[in-house]
Symmetry: C2
Subunit: 116 residues, 2 copies
């Protein structure tokens, strides 16, 4: 119930079945059995997957009689995106800086060769 941790989000999304479930939920809510349909595993397994996604804050379950429509929560994606962007940008800045240094550098035989 606390704020979702990056640990949970990333490891939830590490599984292809769970990523697929997220992909399908982007088109609209679906019940557990509906979600389980395409996969060659038991409903219990899919139910577990959804629990994992829920713990990560990626989806939420509502109650509709005996059905449990699953809904994609977009917010948590921001958490990931922010984390990723932070380091991607830093790495790219460093890369560009290095690039500039190299460009400004005259042909130097002590330089190691580029990686194909």
């Amino acid at each position: 119930m606390g704020a979702p941790q990056l640990d949970d989000v990333f490891s939830a999304l590490a599984d292809p079945t769970r990523r697929d479930i997220v992909a399908r939920l982007a088109d609209g809510d679906a019940t557990v059995t509906e979600l389980a349909g395409p996969y060659d595993v038991s409903i219990q397994a899919v139910s577990k997957h959804i629990s994992v996604l829920e713990d990560a804050g990626l989806v939420s379950k509502t109650v509709d009689a005996q059905r449990r429509p699953v809904h994609l929560e977009a917010e948590v994606f921001d958490l990931m995106t922010k984390w990723i962007e932070r380091y991607r940008r830093r790495a790219e800045q460093r890369y560009r800086r290095l690039d500039r240094v190299l460009a400004a550098m005259p042909d130097d035989p002590s330089d190691d060769h580029d990686d194909t």
Copy 2:
């Protein structure tokens, strides 16, 4: 060797130690022992972590005598960002659309009640 898979990228980033390593590499390349420094685990464990990151295409190792400077590869981040953004956007569009529908809807008793 092959293109990095989302599986590998997400599961690599699921581990907090590995995320931390990535974070530190954003500030600049570092050798394995340098990276291992802050952690309370063996160098072998850190070496394994770096291998996982390498397999995911998130970092690359170069050769400098007996040292192995590790370098952050920013490209793969795009792979993740693209995946995330695709579904985040879809989910948010649906949300906004629903929002509009609800806003445009007059008080209707046949509607199921709202969730608090």
